[in-house]
Subunit: 406 residues, 4 copies
């Protein structure tokens, strides 16, 4: 059980960490306090940061190791990439600056693993090159989407075309000005086996019949410029060759898509929690009430200690899941991946809540990154499956060791 | 220990409850989904609701019982008003519709108890009449404001004038188009006894030198049209007669201001939590995943039960504090008032969090009132003194019974 | 909603409180430190306390109000008795001293409500007179007894006899030297409706075939001299007239038995928690570490405040349940009774845990009543239905208001 | 960061695990249900298990790697020993069977690191040989012992003798029939620097003036045959050569003593928690209530998942602390060691509590190892420093990184 990153990964982590603190943090502060006139544009400063990061080789580091197509490099293992992801979690701007942001990373992985050469040429290369962005459309407003077999948008084969009809929401990424394509999950064959009914279809955003009905806020935040949209599909027709890996394979793809992505998410939450604890200590030492620095009042030191214990435990839990993904693959790591999916946002939420509290009113305002960080963590308790569903997976696997069939 | 409301109060509670569900809720839903073009205006529909409520006698019900000036009616006791406050907590629009919204209620109480007849004529009457709104300016950006003795804005006597210099933030109410006056806490005599240094001053918003620097968001919400502002005061001069109860009495006034106000806040949070639980049950029964309604999955029923226990316990704790305020007065009720100040937002937060979780993504969006409700509860854990300060008060009073001097 | 006790109840509460502190506490301390040579005997000092309490009229105060048989007095309402129960919770010896201990109180209530005149003469009168004790035998070792329909011990009608065969455990009270009779729940008609299959049978302890197999410990404590036994029944024959209210009525009786009993248990836990908090404050003020009294270290004051909030909330929740039982009866109060059944031991456990922690090693030892108090609270989370079952009841009633059938 | 055990360690872990399940568990069950006639004797079956374990080389495995005296073998690193410790945590009998039980392991380490050759010959060799047992006497009844500088028992140099006067309690191990010697911490020079005032003295149990006043229970359990005693020292005289490492070095020794010992304790708690979860799954699958196995009722599956997350996180946190102790030494690992000291018993307590709950009454009884396991975990929240003190250490180290001096 060796969590030591390779030498190259250690150097990259160091470089990313320095870049985040020296280059990204100042821009982030400026943008946060400025507010956005047009929230759905990419600020010029951010585009410049992207160029700079790319020039330094801090680009697409999420790409997995060991892919057979040389174009996509040898990449990093999950254990190697995890500390990089933590470093990018420090600022919400960072993943995009390094071209390592969700949902593009997950979409890229899907194309890398399941895409045809043509699909890769057309979509993956410009994604990795940073010329386009993409969205992922799975959740639907009318059904409990925690059970993915509920999805009702239809994706019906009609000759050499796939025809889509229905409505999605929480389609992340669709607000970005460069968003060019969506991966859409649709119901193809309602009579097939439960996990073979749905397909994943590449739908260019400018296809007739695709309409972004509105952008949704997450507890008051729009997560611009990516955002989350409600999107309707009315007689949307795309070539059958836009189906990823062929009709009926959506579940298989969704599963494969999520393992490493959950490690990324979870490690970014570790970075976020570390920043919150950092800010809490700084604020708590510098502000005085009742004659003492805040850290010396009431239970604040105990809360700092609990935060440290929780963050360290979480980081190790994720490193272990990354290591298991690397050594035993996603199927053997299902419980571990669900464990970090539950633990990471809950720990982050708790640490950030404490940091907000010690900041007083400032912690709730946009002068500090804490409020949006908390909301991001809260949202992840629902995104990609709510806590409760993942706890169900963990329990099922645990009980299977005692002979239970479900 | 009798928590039975008077007959009149029971009727008013019923009327308020019906008005909220029949009149306010539909408007609230429409406005929430519409989003606001100009968030700092009062929508015409809301102004109409106010007229209607007033016409039905559902107006200024917060006014306390037993005031010696007949103009202000005989009012309701705290025990009587508490269920009314719960009913108004169901919708964030309701308190304003009934002219019972913070900070105007607290400001009105200050004027009622401590104001001169002239101050009442000029400010209290139009407040109660709904012609103006007001703000409360205490917290400052540069100091830990949980310790109110830290306040640094100066309010210096200069002949028959009071001169204010400094900066406040989280000045609630200052964004409202009808806001006409602020009550500002300032440092008058730094050499006086710790709790006699500060004054409360009435400052018309249009006084030269008063400047609203910006409106602050609370975790992404602006709480329009009231809002919370950062306000600078540069050589602001007002007549000495604008000082409430005379210089140096700010602490006394702040204490008196908060007892009933905290009962109101706390009971509104009960109303909010009840609505969240209501929505959770409705959603949990109507949405199906894995072949079952959500309420029958995992620990959801246990969470509903815990929510019911927590809400009922909280309501009774507040009713008891209200009863103690009525029968023994604010000084004897300090621990009880701090207890509800801690318990109410924490319980509400927990119940609303569960309701959000069972709603899935919808719970985070503005399609439901849950996200803004959660944020409101979170903010109250800091407003009027953070949890930690109130726990300190409770412990001090507890330990005093064991002979501890502090 | 009036929780004010009657004048008589207030006086009795005061008298009980004084008796507990002045008479019982010193004996309790002596006995605790002495350890017991013969744990299944009643120490002479305790018998004397009983005589003294009875002489002062502090005897059988649990008897409910409004019974039609004058012999059993008019009694106290639940609201009246609740504060008395809290006062007896302060010491584990107190309920017995006042002849108000479980399971005799519950058994007495069963006989009072459902017993025939003959059953009352033979069993109830000596119970109330303190000449005998009784046990309650429901839980079985071989089945999940949280579902009472699981009970397998058979109670079969054979002519004018009832014949019992099977095994019970956690039969509380069976270790007491004066224990003379058990109320045993047995399966009479497996084909009847689910809730009409079982009977409650009075079984004198000396009936042939009844055998106390062993006494069980609860986390190391035997709760002597009452204790909890495992009891086997082999061809035990009693007259049919020993069946309470006739065959098949066990469920109805069990339900009726538990409402007031749960108020008693819950209020005793309030008393226990108050004592723990009292001891915590005393110890925390008197012991010094790192140059400060323990209460001034870390989060201890915040924990004292949280304990105060939790205890006060709990007491009010129980008073409300008592009031509802008095005014609307047990059927309408099912949710409220389950709420206190869940809340009381959990709150007590948490407060006592804190008190143990602040006592250091002493808190774990028998020098203080904390360790046994914690264990008592822990056990009540299982006795009379585990937390989880009661949460299920609360949720069911909540969801029924939304139209759910179960 | 490599947590992979050496090949030898992996084999030993496997052997220990098999021995615990095949040999120790059946004996443990028999002894637990039998109860002890003479609790302060070592049952013959246990002595036989010790011979068997020793014969298989499963003996003294706790001995640390890299000691310069060849007699004591090369030993295992902390990373190597940690999984062995987890395996021994499964049964409370196991550590003694493998001669790896506290406090003898800690005492042996002290002698190994700080003892003179004579002290090792006289005490260490028979300890490792299993011929004697030892006790550790630090905590005192009259002072808050969480602050070790409070210790008042005097250990005064008088010529070539050390003279001890005072009283200790929670002297673990003193009840064992083979207990031959105590390591006693005493105050030697009250005027010295705070951390140079105390000495560690070897005191044979049969020295005149040493008196075991009583054995203490921990929440009803006596932890026989080792036990915890209250011990008085009256003019106890031992040769000056019995002082370990010379007078005034007690703090240095106490610190050194605790690093690996805390890894052992923590990993044993992981083993205990694993067993509790194992039993919970087994019971939860086999018992039926309301028509379903218990695991399928309410939130039980979610609780199983939370237990799995908590245990896995904890194990990794401990492995990391072990690895840091191995690679950077105890001084650099102070925060990590305190982190596991806090986390381990709290996690174990929570998992065991759930297991007890799912077992119903059986979980509280001595039919299952859960009740004593819970109590053991609870006691460790106080032993070797309460949670609160360790949280203070963690916070101090965290804040030092932000420039705080304390």
């Amino acid at each position: 059980m060796d969590f030591t990153p390779s030498e190259r990964a250690a150097e990259l982590t160091e470089a990313v960490r320095a870049f985040v603190r020296d280059e990204i943090e100042p821009v982030e502060q400026r943008l946060r306090r400025a507010g956005g006139d047009d929230r759905w544009q990419v600020p010029e400063e951010v585009r410049e940061l992207r160029h700079k990061a790319r020039a330094q080789g801090l680009w697409n580091l999420f790409l997995p190791a060991g892919h057979d197509d040389d174009r996509y490099g040898t990449g990093l293992s999950n254990v190697d990439y995890a500390p990089v992801a933590e470093a990018t979690g420090w600022s919400h701007l960072a993943p995009y600056v390094f071209n390592c942001n969700a949902p593009d990373t997950g979409n890229a992985e899907v194309l890398l693993r399941y895409g045809s050469p043509e699909q890769r040429d057309r979509w993956l290369d410009p994604l990795l090159d940073g010329r386009i962005r993409s969205g992922f459309a799975m959740t639907e407003p009318e059904v409990a989407s925690s059970d993915a077999t509920n999805m009702q948008l239809t994706a019906v084969v009609d000759g050499d075309r796939m025809v889509l009809n229905g409505r999605k929401w929480w389609t992340t990424g669709v607000g970005h000005p460069d968003c060019a394509v969506l991966i859409v999950m649709g119901l193809t064959d309602p009579d097939a086996d439960k996990h073979a009914r749905h397909s994943m279809v590449l739908v260019p955003l400018d296809t007739p019949g695709v309409r972004v009905e509105r952008m949704l806020d997450t507890m008051g935040f729009f997560d611009e410029p990516f955002g989350h949209g409600e999107v309707s599909f009315t007689d949307v027709r795309v070539p059958l060759s836009n189906v990823i890996a062929g009709p009926g394979r959506a579940f298989e793809i969704a599963q494969g898509r999520l393992g490493p992505g959950r490690v990324h998410h979870a490690m970014r939450l570790v970075g976020l929690a570390e920043r919150a604890l950092y800010l809490a200590c700084e604020r708590g030492l510098s502000r005085i009430a009742f004659g003492k620095p805040l850290v010396n009042l009431g239970g604040n030191r105990e809360r700092i200690a609990e935060a440290r214990i929780a963050i360290n435990s979480l980081r190790l839990l994720i490193m272990h899941a990354a290591w298991k993904l690397d050594t035993e693959g996603p199927l053997a790591s299902m419980s571990e991946v669900s464990q970090i999916k539950v633990a990471a946002p809950n720990v982050a939420q708790q640490v950030i809540d404490f940091a907000m509290q010690i900041h007083g009113g400032a912690g709730l305002s946009s002068d500090f990154p804490l409020a949006s960080a908390w909301t991001a963590a809260r949202a992840i308790r629902l995104a990609d499956g709510p806590d409760e569903v993942h706890r169900g997976v963990i329990a099922r696997i645990e009980l299977a060791q005692h002979g239970a069939s479900r």
